[in-house]
């Protein structure tokens, strides 16, 4: 997790705005003041494209809006949070989940709002990884590229245009504005936050800081969720703002951002990438999948060396032809690494040049 936790050594952050009455009677069976929402970012890679399972809310006034599969947690019905999540997802999508991992619990007042809808006060985000084969048979919902929601994260064709064309100038302006907030005791200047998150001024782009970037855009009022939640947009900018990625229901885009950041970090020290692969694969297919998650362009030869010398894979003995060149050996995940090394993973680093 690379939120701004390190920045935020606050003395105290806001206990003054105490009793803004938000009492609300929810019709759901056993819920009252606090409702717990379980949300899943279910990720797969289809044709080298990282995708996430979304459910479109057709009841929306215009066009509908995407959301993650979710449902309330009822301690009566489910023994654990995770089993609650699994059954909600299966009910809504028909998909049985394999690998599941908890991400974060969000509870900010105001960040769950949807106009006129009931309120989720606390949402627990989960990350699930699934393989393309299992991923096909869906009852509801559809797979969408995650870059649809985060176009600035898509570096597959080089640095995304939207960064220099839209995001940077608006953030630079936002950074110039005077800060009136009283909260953090030792605040990080907006300029520095922008520079670090987006790797400006010679800084490196850190592909793991997905959540930090989204939160920054939210704070700057540049994503639709911020406007929906009643934040002022990055003022001083006249005219309608462009869409900075497709919005999602509630705080689901924040959860998805957390999920993307977590997968990107995790494949480096745990072999979770294989949750996204079929049983047999070529090393280049593996590399393509890693690149789909992380952003592209790993050094092919070094990638082989890394994966093989780490003992992450073993050859099946067969080859795959029709690769457009010399046939490629097929490999499978070597499960024994889990029993050998303390932290096996694809320790890749993107190419500099």
């Amino acid at each position: 997790m690379v939120t701004d936790a390190n920045f935020k050594r606050r003395v105290h952050d806001g206990e003054s705005n105490a009793a803004e009455e938000t009492h609300h009677t929810v019709s759901r069976s056993e819920t009252a003041g606090v409702e717990i929402g379980l949300n899943a970012a279910i990720v797969a890679v289809i044709d080298d494209e990282p995708v996430v399972l979304v459910i479109r809310n057709e009841a929306e006034p215009v066009g509908g809006i995407d959301g993650l599969p979710f449902g309330p947690f009822s301690p009566v019905a489910h023994r654990t949070l995770e089993s609650g999540l699994r059954s909600w997802v299966e009910e809504q999508t028909g998909l049985g989940l394999g690998y599941v991992e908890q991400l974060y619990t969000f509870g900010d007042r105001g960040r769950h709002a949807e106009p006129g809808d009931s309120m989720h006060v606390v949402s627990i985000g989960y990350l699930a990884l699934t393989e393309t084969g299992h991923a096909r048979d869906l009852a509801h919902g559809s797979w969408r590229s995650w870059y649809q929601y985060f176009p600035w994260e898509d570096w597959r064709k080089g640095r995304p245009e939207i960064l220099s064309a839209e995001i940077e100038p608006r953030l630079k302006e936002w950074a110039q504005q005077p800060v009136s907030r009283s909260a953090p005791a030792r605040p990080v200047p907006r300029e520095d936050r922008v520079r670090i998150c987006f790797g400006l001024d010679g800084g490196a782009w850190d592909e793991e800081k997905v959540l930090d970037r989204f939160e920054l855009l939210y704070d700057a009022g540049l994503v639709e969720e911020a406007r929906r939640d009643g934040r002022e947009s990055a003022s001083g900018w006249s005219g309608p703002l462009p869409r900075f990625g497709a919005p999602m229901r509630f705080d689901h885009r924040r959860i998805l951002a957390t999920a993307i950041g977590r997968v990107r970090a995790k494949i480096k020290y745990r072999p979770v990438i294989f949750e996204l692969m079929p049983d047999d694969f070529t090393l280049f297919e593996l590399q393509k999948t890693v690149e789909a998650i992380l952003g592209p362009h790993l050094h092919k030869q070094n990638f082989r060396r890394l994966v093989e010398s780490a003992g992450l894979v073993e050859p099946t003995g067969e080859v795959k032809t029709q690769t457009g060149g010399r046939p490629a050996k097929l490999f499978r995940f070597r499960r024994e690494v889990l029993l050998e090394r303390p932290a096996p993973g694809v320790r890749v680093k993107p190419i500099r040049s």
Copy 2:
């Protein structure tokens, strides 16, 4: 997080035991089915000893039992989970928190039980780090070495005795027993789990796997919490079991285990160690603090090289005398690293020999 998430690729894990009625009327203002508990593992280092702030429940029948500061989350009173936590902690202990980070949300039915007490269904664990100076003035609660609750984690005087004397033989026996559970689709054999978590048979001890070890001991029925929650103990063992560390209220020891594992992991890639240090310190004091957290014995010269070349510290210009030898230069944390490097931290590795 290094739970057994990688092991547990379950097909489905337990939706059969559906309606075990646990309805319960809680007297607290606006709560019903689900109550959210906020729990803080507040960590400091005092005289090179890693300590955690605990509050002893004197209302207990015999002797009292330790617990972490905690309280229910009320969305009416607090805008964010974190501000709720901060005010609970301040109310209970008089301590204003600095660095705070969310750990994990636990929701297992049965893991929160305390005989005859009301039930917390979901507990959100937090880690807080504080410096010794701030740490002194407490209204309630006291600092206890965290090794009191996890004696097997204390490698400061070499491999702890309790491992070979008590834990290993009992775990080996537990590993031999037939497994009747139906849950995991591809279960990790108990033997392997034991070997990996505790680094037996030539495996390395991974100081970050604190939670995995505790959960393993829980599953084996060796910690008091397991017996309290109604688990059978590692059967076949006759006579009273020794205490495997002091127990805590609810699932607080699990939260503390998560906290220890997280700090141990995090100081390696974020400069959070300085949250535990006074403003000025010598490099050896810094090393001692790192060793208190991680387990001891870093190579002194290389530690210096690492910390200095990473730009984590800068000399204050003064020296500290009375070190028993040559005076040591004083350093302070160089905050600018946060703005420079993507993931600055004390990338130490314990000495092999």
